[in-house]
């Protein structure tokens, strides 16, 4: 073996701990990069293939019941390659053994699955056919949640009648990768919402909509022409009771998946880059020390005739080796983690053809990135070799210039500190660059940790806010459609219900110039006792007699402020369009993002005196009567606020997994950095420390010097890292799917305390891990050697 290479390996061997620590940082970065990038690729290609193979429609036309002939009209429209009519309706449903009702969406499907749009993927069982008209396919995750099997009976309530259907198969559709009833239900709820696929003519028969359809889905010859075709259809179908024409990108499931993928993609680069950056800083510091330490050896090598290039490369070699080994290990770990993450996704998204693949290009790019990062750091550190003259190098290094630093001149108290502390600060000042780098890398690590833990804080804040002050109802009762306000009075007949107030929710589009947002407007009564709104400062706000209140996030996306006027369009009633004034900005918590007085809302949307939900309070310690309420006519579902939390937490499981991964990885990195700094400062000051030991300083007193310095540097890193974490958190929040939820940026003091405690723990651990270096220092040897 090349002798220089041999030297490298032996050097590394004798400083194992340090190199392991650095390699860990690289491993962490590359693991993360591979895991996230590959889950992205897995999911991305899986969804794309799925959409393609299972023929996800390009356009969705929604109509008030229209004659089936409309399908032909749409199919013959220029640019349309195939069209398929269907009936889609939401009904309540009962399942044996489950208390309460669930929401079932009946979607009619053609007799043959082959060649159908939104082709179903059968996990189990058989497709519906003419011969098995009572067979129903049920959405997979729902079946799994309720442990339904093929042959189980379910009881949707159609037109007020309970109909028994037998489950014939477990299916998933590309239209419901993310199975939510509407954009307002942010999280899939596998307990209370499902999709039932039934043969088309059977649905017509069941519902009494003979010869009618209420949706037409279609594929285009050229997807790029979606806008034009959409326009054409909107004109053409005016007289067919058109509700809306939506592109697939505006469909909930597609949009959610898209946001998720975008977030993954940006995370896939942002985090690993930070990790690699920190890793290269650590390598840089290590190599600087190495080169300085080995000056004489370098001089000797030069005297022996090694070229500067060869020596330079020898030192860069350390960095390249670290980069290479770290990235190879990281790739191995990353590939495995990608498998875990990707599979984890499957519990949230219905994708049948997900393949967990290893992407050679991702791996290679990771290794390349790592080697480049480390190589650049290595070169920058090793280039000082070029300045060394052999004869000079073999003489001892010029004594370090001692200086008081400006801090002592400006702040006299610093000069009055105990000597060990004075020494600490002067040392930090003397090694400005290293101090700076260490502070920076600790700050970044702390920032990383805080930024990610903030997510938890924000959610906790949101829940507290929502359930502490804002939402105090026990049940939200949703009606099957618009009902008269007086229905609320019927609820009052339950003796367990002490209070009930009407509420309405309608899907609307809010428009300000070119900016549009689809959202749900919540209609509340003035002086609501159970649904309170607050402004940004925390003062209670009432829904105005006229005009609308928007949450901060929504107002920002629309680019409006208090007093501006926006256009509101009813999404369920085409043609209704009104100008309306923004009367205030409110805080967001769970639930809606636009609010009006219920009467005003009805007036704007031409709904008369109707509502579609009610909020009720129960007698304290009262019985559970959700089931009884659900038995009422017109009642579709009864939800408790807790359900929302449950749903949230379930969805957040995905985010928690990321938070967990990132926190663990940043901890590893944080420790590696502090451990390295500790080791470097001990090695660099062996002589100094040894003379102190000889003078009679105890091991602990000597260790204290090192400890002080670490503490000071870490404290600085912490101080800078905290606001940095806040900035980073703000960036991450921007990456979050914003129509899902706009999280407020909240950091609780406990998060700072936790971050500080973690760093403190690392300082102590690094110190303990290095105590041996101090206590085992061979005093005689150290003093004899001229450094």
């Amino acid at each position: 073996m090349n002798k220089l290479m041999l030297m490298t390996l032996r050097d590394i061997k004798s400083n194992k701990g340090q190199y392991i620590a650095i390699i860990m940082v690289v491993v962490v970065g590359i693991t993360m990069y591979n895991a996230i990038s590959m889950s992205f690729h897995n999911l991305n290609s899986a969804t794309e293939n799925y959409y393609e193979e299972y023929r996800l429609p390009h356009l969705f036309v929604r109509l008030n019941n229209a004659p089936e002939s409309v399908v032909g009209i749409i199919g013959r429209t220029d640019g349309v390659s195939s069209a398929q009519g269907r009936l889609v309706l939401d009904v309540p449903m009962e399942i044996p053994g489950y208390e309460g009702r669930v929401q079932a969406r009946i979607v009619s499907v053609p007799r043959s699955n082959d060649g159908a749009l939104n082709k179903l993927h059968l996990e189990e069982g058989r497709y519906v056919s003419g011969d098995h008209r009572d067979g129903v396919l049920v959405e997979k995750l729902f079946m799994e949640f309720h442990r339904l099997d093929i042959g189980s009976s379910i009881y949707p309530i159609i037109n007020g009648k309970s109909v028994e259907l037998k489950v014939s198969g477990k299916a998933i559709s590309p239209e419901y990768i993310y199975a939510v009833p509407s954009a307002q239900d942010m999280m899939p709820d596998n307990e209370r919402f499902t999709i039932l696929y039934l043969e088309h003519s059977f649905v017509q028969q069941l519902t009494g909509y003979d010869g009618l359809v209420n949706e037409v889905v279609l594929q285009l010859k050229d997807e790029g022409k979606a806008k034009e075709v959409k326009k054409k259809l909107e004109d053409r179908l005016k007289h067919y009771g058109l509700i809306s024409v939506t592109e697939r990108k505006d469909e909930v499931s597609y949009a959610m998946m898209d946001t998720e993928l975008n977030a993954l993609q940006s995370m896939g680069f942002a985090y690993p880059t930070v990790f690699l950056l920190i890793g290269s800083i650590v390598i840089y510091m290590l190599l600087i020390r190495l080169v300085d330490n080995q000056r004489r050896q370098i001089g000797a090598l030069m005297a022996l005739g090694f070229t500067k290039g060869a020596i330079l490369f020898h030192y860069i070699g350390y960095a390249l080796l670290v980069g290479f080994v770290g990235s190879v290990l990281g790739s191995l770990a990353g590939v495995r983690l990608a498998g875990v993450l990707t599979r984890y996704y499957l519990t949230f998204f219905n994708i049948p053809i997900l393949q967990v693949k290893t992407y050679a290009d991702v791996v290679l790019l990771g290794i390349l990135m790592s080697v480049v990062f480390c190589g650049v750091a290595g070169f920058n550190a090793a280039k000082r070799v070029l300045r060394i003259l052999p004869a000079e190098a073999m003489r001892p290094v010029a004594p370090i210039e001692g200086k008081k630093w400006w801090g002592e001149r400006i702040f006299p108290f610093l000069a009055g500190l105990r000597i060990s502390w004075r020494l600490t600060f002067r040392n930090m000042w003397r090694n400005k660059k290293r101090t700076l780098f260490t502070v920076a890398s600790i700050a970044m690590t702390v920032g990383l940790m805080i930024s990610i833990m903030t997510m938890l804080d924000s959610m906790e804040y949101l829940f507290d806010k929502a359930f502490g002050d804002a939402l105090s109802y026990d049940y939200k009762v949703a009606f099957t459609g618009s009902v008269h306000r007086d229905v609320v009075k019927d609820l009052g007949e339950f003796k367990e219900i002490t209070y009930a107030e009407p509420m309405a929710e309608y899907p609307v589009r809010l428009v300000n110039g070119w900016r549009k947002e689809n959202t749900m407007v919540t209609g509340l009564v003035q002086g609501s006792r159970v649904y309170k709104l607050f402004d940004i400062k925390g003062n209670r706000v009432e829904v105005p007699r006229e005009g609308i209140l928007l949450t901060e996030g929504l107002a920002e996306s629309l680019g409006v402020k208090r007093g501006d006027k926006i256009t509101i369009e009813a999404l369920n009633k085409p043609g209704i369009e009104r100008r309306i004034a923004v009367k205030g900005i409110v805080e967001q918590y769970l639930g809606g993002s636009a609010f009006m007085e219920v009467g005003a809302l009805n007036a704007v949307l031409g709904e008369g005196s109707t509502i579609n939900a009610a909020l009720v309070n129960l007698r304290y310690n009262g019985e559970e009567i959700a089931g009884d309420i659900e038995g009422m006519p017109y009642v579709q579902s009864v939800k408790e606020p807790d359900d929302m939390v449950k749903q949230y937490n379930e969805y957040m499981g995905l985010i928690y997994a990321y938070i967990g991964v990132i926190v663990v990885l940043s901890c590893i990195m944080g420790f590696a950095i502090i451990y390295n700094t500790t080791t470097i400062s001990i090695m660099e000051r062996r002589r100094e420390l040894a003379s102190l030991r000889i003078m009679g300083f105890t091991n602990n007193q000597v260790a204290e010097l090192i400890f002080n310095e670490n503490t000071a540097v870490s404290a600085m890193g912490l101080i800078i890292g905290m606001p940095l974490g806040m900035l980073m958190a703000a960036q991450i929040l921007k990456l979050m799917p914003e129509d899902m939820i706009s999280l407020p940026l909240v950091i609780f003091p406990k998060t700072y305390v936790l971050a500080a405690a973690t760093v403190a723990m690392f300082v102590i651990l690094a110190q303990l891990a290095n105590m041996r270096r101090i206590s085992r220092m061979d005093l005689v040897e150290v003093m004899k050697s001229r450094e």
């Binding site: 004594p399 370090i400 001692g402 000597i419 002067r426 003379s691 003078m695 009679g696 300083f697 005689v780």
Partner: protein
């Protein structure tokens, strides 16, 4: 009657370097009295530093015993040895080993802060002739001055013994003489026991006693009736 301060009995030190064993010190038996100025003379590799390091509690003998005021050093654990060094011993090295980040005064304060009966820092610096340069950093001082700071630092904690390993080894004869003068003065006025290791025979003339070492053995001990003033030593 002079009191014995340090005594060694049959000290041997064998260093194992891989497969080779080197006997750095063989059967060294010796008494050093309070207030003595002893020079240990010998070529490099003769075991001078080993002897000094064992006396100073920095190294342990392979065989034999060292007593300080009757206390056997071998009975002390690491902490005991540290305390022993802190309270009784001061080292002075060829390379001054000052802390570059501390001024002369602070270097001295470093040890006075931890000793029970320290001498006054400025008085000690005055004694080594560096009162005026107390606030200079080591890099702003000449080699001789740095060594005098090292001496001041060694003395200030008020130890019983100064162990000096080639204190003038890195200095030219003029500055070297100044350092020796300071050592002698401290020996005389403060009554500190001083052991100086050197391979420079000329220096031996200022001692009360001279020990000759060769290949790890004490080959000769000479008592000097009228030690020469360091001023008059030439090398």
């Amino acid at each position: 009657m002079k009191k014995v301060l340090i005594s060694t009995r049959d000290l041997s030190k064998i260093y194992h370097m891989g497969e080779v064993s080197v006997e750095a010190l063989r059967d060294a038996t010796l008494d050093i009295y309070e207030g003595e100025f002893v020079v240990i003379l010998g070529p490099s590799g003769s075991g001078k530093s080993t002897l000094l390091n064992i006396i100073g509690g920095m190294d342990t003998p392979t065989h034999g015993k060292v007593f300080f005021r009757g206390q056997e050093l071998g009975d002390l654990d690491d902490n005991g040895l540290t305390r022993y060094r802190r309270e009784n011993i001061s080292f002075i090295f060829q390379f001054y080993n000052l802390l570059p980040n501390l001024t002369a005064r602070e270097n001295v304060e470093l040890v006075t802060d931890m000793s029970s009966e320290p001498l006054d820092v400025m008085e000690v610096l005055d004694k080594v002739g560096l009162k005026e340069r107390a606030d200079h950093f080591p890099s702003q001082l000449s080699g001789g001055e740095q060594q005098r700071v090292a001496v001041a630092r060694a003395v200030a904690k008020n130890p019983e013994v100064l162990l000096c390993d080639e204190p003038t080894g890195a200095l030219d004869n003029i500055t070297g003489r100044v350092v020796l003068k300071v050592l002698k003065e401290i020996n005389r006025s403060l009554g500190k026991t001083v052991l100086v290791i050197t391979h420079n025979a000329a220096i031996a003339e200022m001692a009360d006693r001279v020990l000759y070492l060769s290949s790890g053995r004490i080959v000769n001990i000479r008592t000097i009736e009228n030690p020469v003033d360091p001023e008059r030593i030439e090398w």
